[in-house]
């Protein structure tokens, strides 16, 4: 099992560092209190930036699921193919 093709998110530090930074940027603690202007697409600037980083987080997590997670996929897909051949 411990081949190079095995990918498990927990083993990659950078994933969690990036995620942490992303979360810190989502919460608007770093804006001056009460600021409203300017407006971007009807959102106050802070809300726009927060939403932007939230969307980034969604995209990032979605990408992580697909590309950084691979433990038993090949094993399972191979087994499935064999099964299909048997029944097909």
């Amino acid at each position: 099992m411990k081949t190079k093709s095995v990918k498990e998110p927990i083993r990659k530090k950078w994933i969690w560092i990036v995620l942490f930074i992303n979360v810190v940027l989502i919460v608007p603690w770093y804006f001056p209190k009460g600021a409203v202007e300017p407006f971007v697409f009807g959102f106050p600037l802070w809300a726009f930036i927060s939403t932007f980083f939230t969307l980034i987080m969604g995209a990032y997590l979605s990408w992580l699921c697909i590309s950084q997670w691979n433990i038993v996929e090949e094993e399972e897909e191979n087994a499935k193919r064999k099964e299909d051949v048997k029944h097909g």
Partner: protein
């Protein structure tokens, strides 16, 4: 939603159609599958064989309930733009899944886990840890189920303009739910989730379209209105609100990802490929679900300014009334939308109930009362136990508590205390049973006491998060002091499974 006058008979027709569709789906998902009722994994995990579409929708419909609309829009209305947090805390759940789901999936397949407790029992081999975690999880699930039951009645009574009274609505839909769940178990739950999830998604989009139409199609107009009239809802939030936002991310992220019914969806996946594909899509759902609901709440500030807390709880109903009055298309869409809310509540309730039953049958009955029973008997005990629990909860539901959001936080406070054992146990071999038990217990007591004494948050931090921090500290320091590690308590083959060695 008490004064929803736009739908009487029409609402009843749509609701009846929805109920019949659910029953039909339930019937066909159980039909011909003789194994279903004779095996725990067959009934509770759909034979560990859920494909992408069913898995994705069952994750979606379970995570997003009718409360996501009925409760979150008013919260957005009251708190303003800082309710953007609802998008981020629903998104972070996927990040927390990435922390443990990949390995838990593999371990669960190899050791045939049925419930989350199976994992804890396998890892810690401690009756105390098993019992305490069963208690905390059943407590959390029970509370969650109760919340859904209350919501079903309110939604139906509102939608039919009181034609169907609250109590009858709850009983009828609970019976529908029990019937299809009895027939098809997890399979029925997942397949009905496909239908319920789609209706909910469409409903939210149409609702938002209608709301935008009412304000002239211009969201910037809405924010300008808020800037002039209620600038506090628009400005950069106070520091305490930001702290609370962080706290929500921790509480919801950790709590929602280890919900027993959420964990069981990891067990139910057909393959790793299906599971990660489903999670990858789920990461995109918050913006188009809680995000759109947030916008609806904000638009509500302009459409119905000055509502108090109780008044704002009716926001979705008030808006639906106005939207339905636009034209015939919107009228029918609003009726379908409200049916969708009911369906969404049921789709969450059925998952919670199934998980509750599985823990009764596999954990309480199967581990402590009668371990030698056949699987068929265990399944039966879970089914009947679930029904008894439902009727017990119904008695409480006749006396519904205050606003929905408060109960939502309550259930997380205790449930989240299972997290250190659950996730740390996967990777840290030194984590030992005794510190885990004490951490869980002290964490739960602290979280419970803080909430009960009216300190739901301290400086913006939730009691559940404070309890969880103490829990983690006890687990970690205690395990470093105790010399028993997993190397000693686990057998060689068990350790190999844990380390992903085939």
């Amino acid at each position: 939603m008490d004064n929803l006058t736009f739908a009487g008979m029409d609402g009843i027709i749509i609701l009846s159609v929805f109920a019949i569709v659910m029953l039909v789906i339930g019937y066909f998902s159980g039909k011909g599958d003789t194994n279903l009722h004779h095996s725990l994994s067959g009934y509770y995990l759909a034979g560990r064989n859920l494909g992408f579409i069913a898995l994705f929708f069952t994750l979606y419909a379970t995570q997003y309930s009718g409360n996501t609309i009925v409760g979150y829009a008013p919260t957005g209305y009251r708190t303003g733009f800082s309710w953007l947090q609802s998008i981020s805390f629903m998104t972070i759940i996927i990040g927390i899944y990435l922390l443990f789901a990949p390995r838990l999936y593999v371990v669960s397949k190899r050791r045939n886990f049925v419930t989350p407790t199976d994992w804890l029992e396998f890892r810690f081999k401690s009756k105390a840890v098993t019992l305490l975690s069963i208690f905390l999880m059943l407590w959390g699930l029970g509370n969650y189920l109760l919340e859904q039951l209350v919501a079903i009645g309110q939604a139906v009574a509102g939608m039919t303009g009181g034609t169907i009274p609250y109590e009858i609505a709850v009983v009828v839909f609970v019976l529908v739910m029990l019937a299809y769940e009895w027939m098809g178990g997890m399979k029925a739950v997942a397949f009905t989730d496909v239908m319920q999830g789609i209706v909910l998604m469409i409903g939210i989009f149409v609702f938002l379209a209608g709301a935008l139409y009412l304000v002239g199609g211009n969201f910037a107009e809405v924010t300008r209105f808020i800037a002039d009239n209620e600038p506090a809802k628009l400005g950069v939030p106070e520091m305490e609100v930001s702290v609370n936002w962080f706290s929500m991310l921790v509480l919801v992220g950790l709590g929602a990802s280890i919900y027993p019914h959420a964990v069981q969806r990891i067990y139910s996946a057909q393959s790793e490929k299906t599971l990660k594909k489903s999670f990858a899509r789920m990461a995109w759902m918050p913006p188009i679900t809680t995000g759109l609901v947030f916008v609806v709440g904000i638009i509500g500030i302009m459409l119905f300014p000055g509502l108090d807390t109780a008044g704002s709880e009716q926001l979705v109903g008030l808006m639906a009334n106005k939207i339905a009055a636009i034209n015939g298309f919107y009228y029918w869409m609003m009726i379908i939308f409200f049916g969708g809310i009911v369906a969404a509540i049921i789709s969450t309730a059925d998952s919670v109930l199934l998980s509750f039953s599985s823990m009764l049958s596999n954990d309480v009955y199967g581990k402590f009362v009668n371990p030698g029973a056949t699987e068929h008997k265990k399944v039966m005990v879970g089914k009947i136990g679930g029904i008894i629990a439902i009727f017990f909860l119904l008695m409480i539901a006749w006396n519904p508590p205050g606003t929905l959001y408060q109960i939502f936080v309550l259930k997380f406070e205790l449930l989240v205390q299972v997290f250190p054992a659950f996730v740390l146990g996967l990777y840290w071999k030194r984590l030992a049973a005794k510190p885990v038990f004490w951490g869980m217990l002290i964490g739960a007591i602290v979280a419970g006491l803080l909430t009960l004494t009216g300190h739901k948050t301290v400086f913006g931090i939730h009691g559940g998060v404070i309890g969880l921090t103490i829990n983690f500290v006890v687990c970690i320091i205690g395990s470093m002091l105790v010399t028993v590690s997993a190397e000693k308590s686990l057998k060689k083959d068990e350790l190999a499974v844990l380390e992903l060695e085939a």
